[in-house]
Symmetry: C2
Subunit: 449 residues, 2 copies
């Protein structure tokens, strides 16, 4: 089994980045170029996105190297000159990067990152940046929808087993936290990021004992401060009664069972019946937690139905963003030493030039964004892109995960109400190029045709 | 940025695996237990699956350790006793594993892996095994569908930028190769797995030159044996004429342009027009390659429409299995020292006991599978599960990636024709428990209720 890490991430790239770079090198084409990373179109089921992944992207840009074994492999392909391979041996990223901070609400066609660097450097990093930013933005965006559905209830990321391989599980936990999850079941994410971890028992635990009651008693004995009993291994209502019996017994010893979890069946009526069982045993403080293929739609339906629960476990649907499992992130050349560049492929046209995004608010609510050319900042509004790297060195405050999470929480409150709906909005958010930018597009399109 | 690797993969787990393990440890419950890893239900759009990921899973089982920093983090949670943490410090997996070899065609409810180990060991590895096997099986299965659609044409994995983080890109390339891709754009996958790598230029390359023709000439000069020219940056037909002009020029020097790629627009008519342009310039040998959000459905439609192309680049849809981006893989306790175990949760019942899968063929075509109890192998048919680990040591021949790919290729030829359709089959594949296994289910269900 092999792993991606700092020493080999340079090869986590499409081969064409390297063939293009080799050609640029051969033709001494290494002038400054600017690329925009953006999402061409929001998925049908998304009214907004939450920027995420920039922190990892900057780490990559700061550390990317071609080590000896990588160079040896590239040599073995017999496609690259010794001269180019020497160039790669001393490859470093020296560029300038502007980005929307993690947790910022963003929309289609807005640059999430703007990379300006010598052409070869800017080209080689394309694949990794897209892979990194698109996935984390996708999961943070999904998590924000779940957060909206949850309202004042909590939800936990329980996705590790269903995420797309190991790295995705780690990054999904982080992105979900940015988007509003209150914690994760993923222990490694807890270790690396300090995200609160959570979890108690699976069905196999209950089955490993001679009967359900013994399992419950054993667990409460072992985790007196933190026991959530899973009550649906055999029959939910019987499970609830057994859990209530155990909880009442240990209450006399000062031990409080934290909650019960239901992972299958018709969750709304079951949770009401379980609540009644717990309450009639005087266990009003014992929480109910629901899980089992939940997503924002099902959570909203459950809460609309008045389920008496404190939190939700969300796994598969969150970590894979299953209703919109890809984001059409692209990375496009928009300017070089000769000025702005444009691409006109059918349905894939790009906005030329070095750009900024300005956000205009009214009464604290996001009203519209304007994509402007560099130098047009005086048009007002809050610039979304901030400088995060200069000459290859990080200049972002790197104020961390909690700041990103708070930025997202605040941003969600500033969303127009129609965008906070889980369905399609009455009106999509306005994102428009400035008149100067529109003029440039027209002028360049005419010239090219 | 942090990475998962052998030193910390033990923490890539749901917290509940560790709380359960701690409780088992406290209660001296560490008898042998058997867990099945299986897919509960095929996604609607899948008629079969291709097993993949077992190789990585075995590597994990062989190397999993709790290193000092992991133990320190767990201690900081104040949930675990010193005694349990000491146990983890010397934790090793000593179990026996049976698995369907990579590349094997498999179906729902059939164990893909059967893990027998002391309960604590078998429990702790659950999350990672599911994460590893489900993702790779999902992508190999998607790739096999693309292979079926392609028939005698080739297809390449071009998914790295859209895969769910870095590790997924690496594993997707491998799984796609098992499922039938002829190569990948992913350089790291080429390096680690020896998969053929492929790729030439992006739109930004064309745009980096003063005009398209200069870009084409430069690239053909730099890669005389391997040039595929991307012709849709501005206008496909003009691009084709320019490419033909360049190809005809260099032909006199003995340089053969390998192909042209179209990445946007209405691919079927465009590819026919491009073919005509190339042919009329005497460039019959120059191939056409199509890409741009392709999947098995679009490829089938294109080929049904008679597109004159040699291969397809498949990215987003392949690496994320976008039409079925999750597999409901589960890992269930099926036996312990007291005998077979059963779980009866609504809609989530399990098949008890240590099991094997037998495949019956008729005239070389898969006819049906039977899930049997250990000891029933004499019922005939080919046993799908083979022993791949004993006392924690790998016993699989580890005959590698090419063997897995060949196994898949042969398996696809043995599929009943109705299952090779991209749509729902006239009849689903028969997977049935043996009468002895059915009897055991009935008997245990009655007893539990």
């Amino acid at each position: 089994m092999v792993w991606v890490d700092d020493s080999n991430a340079s090869l986590l790239t499409d081969l064409y980045e390297l063939t293009m770079a080799a050609s640029y090198h051969g033709h001494h084409m290494n002038y400054q170029a600017t690329f925009d990373l953006f999402i061409r179109q929001l998925p049908d089921r998304r009214n907004f996105l939450v920027a995420c992944g920039v922190s990892d992207a900057l780490h990559y840009l700061h550390t990317v190297r071609f080590e000896d074994s990588a160079l040896e492999y590239l040599r073995s392909l017999r496609m690259f000159s010794d001269d180019f391979l020497s160039h790669l041996a001393s490859f470093r990223f020296h560029g300038e990067v502007w980005a929307a901070p993690e947790g910022e609400i963003v929309f289609e066609n807005e640059p999430l990152m703007r990379v300006t660097a010598p052409l070869i450097e800017a080209q080689i990093v394309e694949t990794f940046l897209l892979n990194c930013v698109a996935f984390q933005t996708m999961v943070a965006s999904k998590a924000a929808r779940v957060a909206i559905a949850c309202g004042d209830r909590r939800f936990l990321d329980m996705s590790p087993r269903r995420d797309h391989a190991a790295d995705a599980a780690l990054k999904a936990a982080r992105a979900a936290y940015v988007g509003g999850a209150s914690g994760t079941s993923n222990v490694l994410a807890g270790h690396f990021y300090g995200i609160p971890v959570s979890g108690t028992m699976a069905h196999s635990y209950v089955m490993a004992f001679e009967d359900e009651e013994r399992a419950f008693r054993a667990f409460v004995h072992d985790f007196p401060n933190n026991a959530v009993l899973l009550i649906d291994t055999f029959d939910v209502l019987e499970g609830a009664r057994r859990a209530a019996g155990v909880a009442a017994d240990v209450a006399s010893e000062g031990v409080i069972v934290k909650g019960v979890r239901i992972d299958s069946g018709d969750l709304a009526p079951l949770s009401r019946s379980v609540r009644a069982i717990l309450d009639s045993a005087g266990l009003e403080e014992v929480e109910i937690i629901l899980s089992g293929d939940l997503d924002e739609y099902r959570i909203k339906a459950l809460l609309d139905d008045g389920v008496p629960v404190s939190s939700f476990g969300v796994g598969t649907q969150l970590g894979t963003s299953a209703d919109a499992p890809t984001l059409g992130a692209v990375y496009k050349l928009v300017a070089d030493e000769r000025g702005p560049k444009i691409k006109l492929s059918t349905g894939k046209a790009t906005l030329p030039g070095r750009k900024q995004v300005l956000r205009f608010e009214r009464d604290g609510i996001f009203e519209r964004d304007e994509i402007v050319l560099e130098g047009e900042e005086s048009r007002g509004g809050r610039p979304l892109l901030v400088k995060v790297m200069e000459r290859g060195e990080r200049t972002d405050a790197d104020n961390g995960l909690e700041a990103a999470r708070e930025r997202c929480r605040t941003g969600l409150q500033q969303l127009p109400p129609t965008l906070r709906r889980l369905g399609a909005p009455a009106q999509r958010y306005r994102v428009e190029p400035s008149s100067r930018l529109s003029g440039l597009v027209e002028q360049m399109s005419a010239k090219t045709h």
